[in-house]
Every structure is written in C-alpha cells, then in structure tokens.
C-alpha cells in the first residue's frame, strides 16, 4: 500500500516540476531558476512525509497523501506565479504543516481513539478559538469579517483549527449519545439547539456567513450519520434558514453580500457605500466578484496557460484583490481553463470518495463519525468558496483546502489529513487481521 503511495508521489513530483518549469518559461523576466528548486524541495518534503506514514500508519489509504501533495503543489505553483514572495512563506507553512502532520501521526499511531476521552476539552477549545478574534487587541477584521487573530505580524485564522476540534468533539459526543438523540425526546434536542444558537452567535459576532454555514453543515451531516433521522436535517436546515434570514434582516454586511450575489451588475448607478456616491454596482461592492468572473471566463476551455493569464491592468495594478487566498480558484480557472479546474475538482471528488470509504470501513462509531465529518467538511468548504466565486451561493471569504495561500488553512488541512490516515490505518489493519 505504501509503495502505491510512493509511486503516486513520484507522479505528483514530476507534475510539480512541470508546473514550476512552465511558470519559469512563461515568466523568465520575473522569476529565476530558483523556481525549479521549489519543485525539488517540495518532492523531498513529501518523501519525508511518506517515510513517516510508512512507519506510523503502514495500512492507511495510499491515495490521500499524494492528493494532498498534488493540491498543495497546484496551489504553490499558482501562488508562485502570482506573487513569488508569498510562495516562499507558503512553502514554510507547508513545512510546518507537514511537521505537525508527522507529529500527529507519530503521537497517535497506537490509538487515536483516546482523543474521545478529551472530547469536551476539544469542544470548549473550539468554541474558545472561534471567539478569539472577537477579543480586543489581538482580533482583526479583514473584509468586513472578524476572523483573524494576530501576534505582531503573524496572522492566524483560529476558525480553521476550531473546525477540526469541533468535528472531534461532535464525533465523540454523538457516538455516546446517538441512541438517545435518535429517540427524539425534547430534552435531547438540547445540544442541537445549543449548537444552533452558538453557530448563529458566531455568525453574528464574526459576521462570517461562510464559517457559520460550514460548521452547521458539518454538524447536520454528522447528526444524520449518528441518528439516521432525516427529519433532524430538515428541521436543522429550517432553523438555519430562519436564523440566516434573521441575521440578514439586522446585519447590513450580510444584506450587502446577498444583494451582490443576486444583482452583481446594474445598468444604472446605485448608491455605493464604499465611495458614498452613486456608481454602477460592478464598479463598487461587487467588483471583486465580477472581476473574478471575468477572470474565469477568460480561461475558456483550455485556459491561457500557466503564467500567461492576465491579473493586472496595463498600469500594473491588480485587477482582483485577494487573488491568492479567497480567489485562487479564479486565477487557476483563467490559466488552466475548464479542463484544468474540472480536473482539480475531480481530484477533490476523489479525496471525498476515499474519505467516505474510510468512514465506511471504520469499525467503531467514533471513527466513522470523525471520518465522515472531516470528509464532509472538506467538501463543504470547497463548495462554499468555489460556489461563492461561481455565484451559486452568496460569496463569503473562506480558503480553498490545500490550494489557497494561508498558514492556518494549510496546517488545519494537514491535521485533517492526519486524522483520516489514522482512522484508515486502524480500519485496514483490523480488516487484515
């Protein structure tokens, strides 16, 4: 199994080298031959990660690590193409993330299930982390949402880590309470209502629509797996909708997002809150969404080619802000075209398929719930950001797993990967026995 993983990692290594080489060829004047060392370094890093999995989780699924490598490679290549300086920082974060990934595997290789004992600790830490950005001094508001904490120049989005911890907590809690939850007595609805209220509160306080949707989506999916009661999902969705409408009514920021989503283009000038005067909406609030759609459209079927996309005006000003974090998908869509991003999305689908397979093979409830929750969260997060960019849902700033620039995101996703590999390792080992 590990040999298969190694084979795929080598394939990914070759792909990475090709990616960096094509960026280098297209942008010789901006980037140097050092770009090729990125590919070499990247390959070495994943070989190291592979050696750790060989030792710690020999029976784990062999496809997940190469997929994560491929996704981070695509992200790093595109970040390198957009802003070479950011790529260096991202590479360091990937090293940190892989190190934490390795540490997690080594630490929990015997039995990760003892985490279940600490489920309440995880739960409260998650809530604490979520509320961290609201604190004065270290809290930071970016693009209208208060999601960041900063220590000096070091910025971190605690929500990313909270997501993993929340899933561990929910898996532990639901494994314990699934029978009573399924009976549907009113007093057992308590936790559901508490979580719902918390999600709405977090939404209100951080004004983070995407995060709220993500946490609540994960919660409902896991609740469904635990109780097999589709009615809970329906009621939960209904409550979420009521809550969302309520938030929409009282929060101008959320109203703005919805207006942008429904009517990004206007024919006549409307009031522009950014300048305080009249402007076409595509030149005002919705310009980021609209420019990103232009970027996607420009990719057409085959894309412009890596390094050949247009991301700056003739004077050199960036056309789309936050291109390498929230909007990296529209950069990829322009340069790789429909073929490229469809392939990218298929890779995400394979990751989800493997993740769900792990949940199916897992023997105990905690493992099943955790694997299903982690995998569903991964898929839902991808849907929320890309769906927002594609105008399927209102746009909210959230990272694209493994691909976006951002330290907290990369670290969190590697921990998610570590979790899936641990569960998979145990399930396969027991199946072989």
């Amino acid at each position: 199994m590990r040999n298969r993983e190694l084979a795929f990692l080598i394939v990914v290594g070759v792909l990475t080298a090709i990616g960096f080489a094509s960026v280098y060829i297209a942008r010789q004047d901006v980037v140097s031959t050092a770009s090729l060392t990125y590919a070499g370094f990247f390959f070495a890093l994943y070989i190291a990660a592979h050696l750790v999995t060989r030792y710690a989780v020999p029976f784990a699924d062999p496809y997940l690590l190469p997929i994560a490598a491929l996704l981070t490679a695509m992200g790093l290549t595109e970040i390198y193409r957009l802003r070479p300086g950011d790529a260096f920082r991202q590479a360091i974060w990937i090293v940190v993330a892989v190190a934490l990934f390795a540490a997690t595997l080594l630490l929990l290789r015997r039995d990760y299930r003892r985490l279940e004992t600490y489920k309440y600790l995880f739960g409260f830490t998650a809530i604490g982390l979520l509320l961290l950005p609201i604190l004065p001094v270290i809290g930071l508001t970016v693009n209208g949402a208060r999601l960041w904490v900063h220590f000096g120049s070091l910025r971190f989005q605690p929500g990313e880590l909270a997501k993993i911890m929340l899933i561990v907590f929910l898996a532990g809690y639901m494994r314990e309470k699934r029978e009573v939850l399924a009976q549907g007595r009113l007093k057992d609805w308590g936790p559901l209502l508490v979580i719902w209220l918390l999600a709405i509160l977090v939404l209100l306080e951080t004004r983070d629509l995407g995060g709220g949707l993500l946490y609540f989506g994960i919660f409902l999916a896991m609740l469904y797996v635990a109780t097999a009661r589709i009615a809970y999902v329906a009621v939960g969705l209904g409550l979420f909708l009521i809550g969302a409408v309520g938030v929409w009514k009282v929060t101008p920021h959320v109203q703005d997002r919805v207006t942008i989503w429904l009517h990004p283009w206007t024919v006549h000038k409307v009031y522009c809150p950014l300048s305080g005067g009249p402007a076409l909406r595509q030149n005002c609030q919705s310009f980021q969404l609209v420019k990103s759609l232009y970027s996607i459209g420009n990719g057409q079927f085959g894309g412009t080619g890596l390094g050949k996309g247009t991301f700056a005006t003739t004077s050199g000003a960036p056309i789309i802000p936050d291109l390498n974090t929230d909007f990296i998908y529209s950069a990829l869509a322009q340069e790789l075209g429909l073929i490229g991003v469809a392939a990218l999305l298929l890779v995400y689908m394979i990751f989800v398929l493997r993740g769900m397979r792990i949940a199916l093979l897992a023997q105990d409830g905690f493992s099943k719930l955790a694997a299903a929750g982690l995998t569903f969260g991964f898929a839902l997060q991808t849907f929320i950001i890309v769906g927002g960019i594609l105008r399927l849902i209102p746009l909210t700033g959230i990272t694209l797993p493994f691909v976006s620039y951002g330290g907290s995101s990369v670290v969190a996703n590697f921990l998610l990967l570590a979790g899936l590999l641990l569960i998979s390792n145990r399930a396969n080992r027991e199946a072989l026995r």
């Binding site: 459209g297 420009n298 057409q300 700056a312 429909l338 569903f376 769906g387």
Partner: protein
C-alpha cells in the same frame, strides 16, 4: 450508519459536481457575454498583448505607427508610438487605452490586430495563440506620399484648412493634410495638451479633409458648368451679357468684388464667365437649368453620400445643402432652392475638401470618378501581401466630351483668369478658384481645386483655407495647390 455515510458522501459529491457545472457555465456559455462587458479589464489588457501591425507611408519606409513594449505584471504589452507625430494623425488616428481608437487605427483594427477573416491571417493567429506566442498584426502601407504630405502641412501652418490630393486615374489619396492637427503621442497621457491649439478655429482632432463642411464658393461652378455642358443646353461659346449683377426674385445679386464698383464684363460667353468666375453668368445658367438639374449633377459627383474612404464613417461627412446643420435633400428643388445662388456656390451648400478634389479628379479623368483609397497594401508579418489596392470606378457623372470642354475652360482660369498663381512652368494646369463669404466683413474661405498636367493628369487637388481677411482663392489657396502639385509631379 453506513447507509447514512453513503448518503452524505453522495451529497458531498453532488456539491462538488455542481461546481464543475458552474465553472462550465461561466467558461463556455456565459463567456462571450462576460468578454463584452465594458468593465472587463482583462479584455482591455488583452488588446495590448497583441503586437499591432505597423503603418507605413507610400514609400514603404516612412514609419507612421509602431509599437513600444512595456513589461507589466510579467506580461509584455504593446503600446502605440507615432514617429511622425502630427504629420499623419488625422488619417492614421490613434489607438490608446483611455480614449480607444480613431482613424485607420479604428477602421483597420481587424487587420492591425491580425483578427481579419483572411484565411492566411486566421491560420497564423490561431497558431500563435496555440503556441502561446505573441499575436502579431498585419502591416499597412498607405498611398500617401510623405514628402508632399509634410509640404502641405508646412504650407498650412498658422492657417486653418485642408489639402487633399488624389491620383485621378486610380483614386489613390496622395496627400491628406489638415490644420490644425495634433500629436497622437500625447493623447494617452496628456490629452489636454494634444487638443490645444493657438488657432482660433480650434478642433485639432477633426479631419477637415473629410469632415470639414465649407461653403464651396465658386469652385462649385465646376459642377454647374458640367451640368450646363452635359445637358447640351449650353456650349462653352454660349453668349451672356453681364451687367455686373444678376436679377433674382426682383433683387440684384452683385458679382464678387467691391460692392460699390462691381466688375462688369458686358458681352461674354460661358467660357469667359468661368475663366473670370462671373457670378451673373452662372446665376443665369442656374435659372435656366433649375436647381433640380444642378443638384442632380452634384449627386452624380458624389454629393449627398458619404465620400467612400477607409477611415471610420464617423470621420466623414457628405457634401450638399445643409439646413440647420442637417443634410437637406429638397423634395421640390425648384421651389425650395434658389437656383441662381446655388449655381455659383452659395445657397446653403457645404462641401468637404475631399469631395471637391473628387470633382476635379473626375473632370481630369475624362469624366470617370475613381473611388478614393488610402490603403496601398496590407502585408502579413511574414512579408506576404494579403490585399492590395484595386482601382475602382464609382461612376461616370459626365460625358467624356463635357470633361474635355471643362478641362479647356479650367486651363483658361490658370493661364489668364483668377487662378494664375497656380501656374507651373512647363506643365499645363487646369483649376478653379473659390472665395466664399462667411458673413463677416471681408473674411473669406478660400478654395482652389485643380489637376495637372491638364491633358493627362497625374494629380488632382483641392485646397481650402478658412477665415482669410481680404484673401481670395487665387491668392491664398492657389499658391499652396501649386507647390503641392509640383512636389507630387516631380
């Protein structure tokens, strides 16, 4: 539990599949709509990634428009530079980011960007795009002679007006100069400076040669005389008596010159009347023919339709009667138009220099009008000629004999009439002066239309100069026409 895991697995996959569908929508169905959005900066930038074709003057060496490269965000962008500055700006126009395009840069954009439909170009551009190399446009070679163009612009310096010279046999535009003009290199960043002029007439961006509307004055007598001879109602020898004025609607319309002592010629014929530009003679011709016939001949020469040329439609205007700023084509010309004043070029006539050059060229070319053309050749980046100029006869407004009789009358104008200043040693010139009152004292718009050599012309010209105090067609415009023709015939 496994059933539920399968369910949420399917739900997750459906969500991701929706993303593929969404992406497909924007990149295929909605793509064209997005590309056409005005605020789509990517498309704007994309235009500047194309290496536009160069523009040359007729010698194939004088570079009128070329590119300078600039690296922006890792992309090589091409911006226009016009080495001859203001010399060709009204014909070539400009291609910029902030002001879009004018002139041939606008109307020949497809050729210059390699997006024209010629099979050869389509093949090459597609290959360039697939290879990811820079798309290179086709080069243009104009018919304009750079040295004569420079001379014409120098002669117009400090004046407002235009010079248009054509090859009567083929319709090639040899000179198209307009004053004041502008420096196209300043349009992008210093538009205010580009459009500033010290001349009182202003409007340096206007191509006066094709869009300037001027009262034609006596140059219109070429059209009236053509109608008079071609209808067979008059011959060059038809007798007239000139009392110094002409009766119209019971009022006396005096000949040109000092109103207190009008020139009086007495017994003359049509030819003498043309030679000395006697208004009363043409007034009577007009009354005999009627305004309808004169306007009909004007239309045959191309009046009332946009003069055909490769520049954008918006940069050309039709000649004819104008009423309150709009082209006026009378339904009942014999009651709506004063035939006497029309015949000697007054009434509400407004003409372009290009139109008057076409009239002169038609007379010189034995009555056949050739389509005026600016583009000699379009050359692909590999040096292959994609299209080249094909002379095109637009029509035959007058009979060959009429043209020959008119030519003799126009020669008399230069040898002994109002246009003696246009004489060129060793070459017979045929011409017609024009001095149009603009309604303010002795300020005139002065004209000269001519062709040479008279029997086998190689050049036809129209020169107009605005707002000349005590200036006449024979004294202001004829000397300019002479020098430009000399340069072209050399």
């Amino acid at each position: 539990m496994n059933k539920q895991v399968t369910h949420i697995g399917i739900a997750a996959l459906v969500l991701l599949a929706a993303l593929i569908v969404g992406t497909t929508y924007w990149q295929t169905w909605a793509n064209a709509g997005l590309a056409n959005r005005q605020d789509n900066e990517i498309q704007l930038v994309a235009q500047f990634t194309i290496k536009r074709g160069k523009v040359y003057a007729s010698d194939g060496r004088t570079l009128l428009a070329t590119n300078v490269t600039k690296k922006v965000g890792g992309q090589t962008l091409y911006f226009r530079r016009y080495p001859t500055g203001p010399l060709f700006s009204d014909v070539v126009g400009y291609s910029t980011q902030s002001r879009n395009r004018t002139g041939l840069e606008q109307s020949y954009n497809d050729f210059l960007t390699g997006s024209n439909a010629n099979l050869d170009t389509v093949f090459r551009s597609t290959l360039d795009k697939l290879k990811g190399t820079t798309v290179t446009g086709n080069d243009l070679v104009l018919t304009i002679r750079p040295e004569a163009q420079a001379l014409a612009l120098r002669l117009l310096r400090g004046k407002c007006g235009a010079v248009v010279a054509l090859d009567p046999r083929t319709g090639r535009v040899l000179v198209m100069a307009t004053s004041p003009t502008y420096n196209p290199n300043l349009v992008e960043k210093r538009f205010g400076l580009a459009t500033r002029t010290n001349l009182p007439c202003g409007a340096p961006l206007l191509n006066r040669a094709t869009a300037g509307k001027y009262p034609p004055g006596s140059t219109f007598k070429m059209v009236t005389a053509a109608a008079a001879l071609d209808t067979g109602r008059f011959t060059p020898d038809s007798p007239f008596y000139d009392p110094g004025y002409c009766e119209e609607y019971g009022k006396r319309v005096r000949n040109a010159g000092n109103p207190e002592a009008p020139e009086t010629f007495g017994n003359v014929n049509l030819s003498t009347g043309f030679e000395h530009s006697i208004n009363s003679v043409f007034c009577n011709v007009g009354k005999t023919l009627g305004a309808g016939v004169v306007l009909d001949y004007a239309k045959r020469f191309g009046f009332y339709s946009l003069p055909p040329l490769e520049t954008p439609e918006g940069e050309r205007v039709a000649s004819g009667l104008y009423d309150r700023g709009r082209l006026f084509d009378p339904k009942h010309p014999d009651t709506q138009v004063d035939p006497g004043r029309l015949a000697f070029g007054q009434e509400r006539l407004a003409v372009t220099p290009l139109q008057m050059a076409m009239v002169a060229a038609t007379i010189g070319n034995h009555g056949a009008t050739m389509r005026p053309q600016l583009i000699e050749r379009v050359i692909s980046p590999s040096g292959k000629t994609i299209t080249h100029l094909k002379p095109d006869q637009l029509g035959q407004p007058i009979k060959r004999q009429t043209a020959e009789e008119l030519t003799r009358m126009m020669q008399l104008v230069v040898t002994g009439g109002t246009g003696t200043a246009a004489q060129i040693p060793g070459i017979s010139v045929a011409g017609k002066t024009g001095t149009a009152e603009v309604g303010r004292g002795n300020i005139h718009t002065t004209w000269f239309a001519a062709f040479a050599p008279a029997n086998a012309p190689r050049v036809a010209i129209a020169v107009v100069v605005e707002n000349q105090l005590n200036g006449f067609g024979g004294t202001i415009s004829a000397p300019i026409a002479k020098q430009v023709m000399e340069a072209l015939l050399r």
